[in-house]
């Protein structure tokens, strides 16, 4: 079987042909969503390789460009080629690659897009059928379009960071980011949605089009109910101060942490029963969820004392049996050992020539008729350059080679 055949598949997007010119998480995650459903995705890397190859996590913490867990995860199911888009020959090769392709994804910074010929007007002039999606921190137009950004600054600029961290009496603590590169993941998944939309649009109009995605706006668009407090009530939503409703909080059990969530009165009543109806639970101070919010400092002490003796798993199951929506604070190890996830076959094993066989996070959704599949491991740097360029009639010796040694 040819390599080209192995990257196709029986997924919902088999037959779609995608080129990804990105660096980091956002475009790569959008590309992954397409690839995992069967699209043929060719990832174009610079000679030094994608930034995530240098980021890790790495086995034993040792930097190795073929062993970055983040890179391996984001780029399975893709073919990888190396081009130095600063060189005219390599730009010519990209031009050939884009012939007959459906979608070009990029999240390169503005300067790089300009230098590399990845601006929409130029792409559109030469490839009128191609849909191009440009993911940019603040979008490609507007006063902040050229501003520098990282995942942290975008999580802040999108308004989520301000909502998290601290709590009553801890206003010295800064707003707190979520783990990982969540702004980029949100930019990626929303860009994938918009790109699919643009492909449907192309079916109607017969022409390619440009999709422009602002990561700041993707983050701002998931602010739950907090944004509307300003235009609707003139209130600034803050992470400080007491939550109006309790309990919605973390507790330490004897073997880990658990999160208790009692929004409805019946959930609290059943939790009190589960605790054996201790006397303190009947106090007027805790009579309804608003009172429990107002007197949370006191209630939390009672609850924590009781929780400390419990086991997370037993309490989770006993609570869920009573329809109380509590949940374990899952560690990564808990997740990899979860019977529920194992039964659903969430984790997927994949062998990679350098990184070995690992268990990867798997399907985020199950398609009844067209399977999600992990088919091939992430490409070694430049692994498919010769194969892809040969098929295009471009001499692979004429384009840039990977820089340096693998390790």
């Amino acid at each position: 079987m040819s390599a080209a055949a192995t990257v196709q598949g029986d997924g919902a997007l088999a037959g779609l042909r995608v080129v990804e010119c990105g660096d980091g998480v956002a475009a790569a995650y959008a590309g992954k969503l397409f690839a995992d459903l069967g699209a043929d995705v060719v990832k174009v890397e610079p000679p030094a390789g994608d930034a995530t190859r240098r980021r890790g996590p790495f086995p034993g913490g040792t930097v190795h460009r073929e062993r970055s867990g983040l890179f391996l995860y984001l780029n399975a199911n893709k073919r990888g080629i190396v081009l130095d888009l600063g060189r005219a020959v390599d730009r010519g090769a990209l031009d050939r690659l884009l012939e007959g392709r459906d979608l070009l994804l990029t999240d390169l910074p503005g300067r790089a897009r300009e230098r590399d010929g990845l601006e929409w007007p130029a792409i559109h002039a030469r490839h009128p059928d191609v849909v191009m999606t440009t993911i940019a921190p603040f979008g490609t137009h507007g006063p902040w379009a050229d501003f520098e950004a990282t995942d942290l600054t975008l999580w802040a600029a999108g308004g989520i960071a301000y909502l998290n961290g601290g709590g009553p009496g801890t206003d010295a603590m800064p707003p707190l980011k979520a783990f990982g590169q969540q702004a980029a993941f949100q930019g990626g998944v929303h860009a994938a949605v918009a790109s699919m939309g643009a492909l449907f649009g192309r079916r109607r109009t017969g022409a390619g089009q440009h999709v422009e995605v602002s990561i700041q706006e993707c983050v701002a668009s998931i602010l739950e109910l907090t944004y509307a407090f300003w235009p609707y009530m003139g209130l600034v939503a803050s992470r400080l101060g007491h939550k109006p409703i309790q309990p919605l909080d973390f507790f330490e059990c004897r073997d880990g942490w658990i999160y208790l969530c009692c929004i409805e009165e019946h959930q609290w009543q059943r939790f009190v029963e589960l605790m054996g109806s201790p006397e303190w639970a009947g106090m007027e101070l805790f009579q309804d969820r608003m009172a429990r919010g107002a007197n949370w400092d006191a209630l939390k002490i009672f609850l924590q004392d009781w929780m400390r003796e419990q086991s997370v798993r037993e309490l989770y199951e006993a609570g869920q049996a009573r329809r109380i929506p509590l949940a374990p604070v899952s560690t990564m190890g808990d997740l990899m050992q979860s019977e529920h996830l194992a039964t659903r076959g969430f984790f997927a094993e994949l062998a990679h020539p350098t990184a070995g066989t690992l268990r990867y996070p798997g399907a985020p959704y199950r398609f009844g008729a067209t399977p999600w599949r992990l088919r091939t491991p992430a490409p070694l740097l430049g692994q498919h350059t010769a194969e892809v360029l040969d098929a295009l009639g471009v001499d692979p010796a004429s384009t840039a080679a990977p820089a340096g040694e693998a390790s």
Partner: protein, 402 residues
Amino acid sequence: MTGPLAGIRIADFTWVWAGPHATLQLAHLGAEVIRVEAVERPCVTRLLPPWPDGQPGLNRSGYFNQFNQGKRSIALDLKTPEGLDLAHRLVACSDVVTENFAAGVMDRLGLGYEALRALKPDVVMVALSGYGATGPEHEFVSYGPAQVPLSGMSSLTGYRDWPPMHVGISYGDPNGGAHGAFAVLAALWHRERTGEGQYVDLSQWETGMAVLAEGLMDQAMNGSAPARDGNRDPHMAPHGIFRAAGDDRWIAIAVRSDGEWHRLAALMGLAAPERERYATLAARKADEDAVEALVTGWTATRTPEDLMALLQDAGLAAAPAMTNRDLHDDAHLGARGFFVELEHPEVGRRRHLGIPWTMSGTPCTVARPAPCFGEATDYVLGELLGIDAATRADLRARGIVA
């Protein structure tokens, strides 16, 4: 409608936030999204604040009105045979069915995939539940706030040596929702090519893990996970959110290289010995508390806006930790046309966050404000299902529709 999905109809049985965030994306793309609400059980977010003047009302919630822009709403009593029949007839003339009830609820209502497929053989149905449709915990109760710890996010999020923490929003909902929108589009793409519909089982828990790869891959490779470390980053320092001048004002700053450190140090006016002592990432990471104290000493007397301008002028990544008010008043977002302000019959003209993308050939716009409860019942029954006015009035009088 001008969006790329014009002509696609979604019978949308979702509620709360995860499902409505999914169908918001589809409405943004121009699909006709018809929220099917229960006569006795309107969407939960209609009952939550904020409301203008603090006065509750089914059509007054900013939460509902933000995430249901561009959609329609009908109200049916699905527990009556006639109400169920109307829902079936709507599905029969729709392309997609979406729902995010707990596992089994749609089956019990008579709206399970097998029942709907019998009515509409090529229907695309996407279910967004907390735990997924199978597995030993699939009937567990799932609430948005509890998805964040369940997914693993909380165990990795928090200040160093503090307990696990939340992320500030019920992140599993919009994350699951955005993935759900992609699943709908992919399944529709397959249907367009082959004529085949299908059922998609999406678990918010699993979509939550899809964005935690850095933690899960570390566990897979090393048998351990990264320790909670606040806003810090192993490859960048300083990397944090620093106090600025004003009441609870903050600036996020990320220094990506040693060269950027020198530019920051110059802006801060650091003396040469301090600048040089921290010239390498390793030196800054080894003494990060001290480095952060130096940065805070400089930021604490300046506003976040001034700091952002100074830092960006020097080519450094920085942005204020923006509040909802900051976003509402933001000139950049305004200049981009991100905001949507449409006349709503009960709350008037208010600013909502709009579509996070632009599209050149098939432009996306928010065509209408979020629907009042049942505003499209007559439209759906009359124009889509061909039910005459007298019958509609009778259904309404008997409480089968509202």
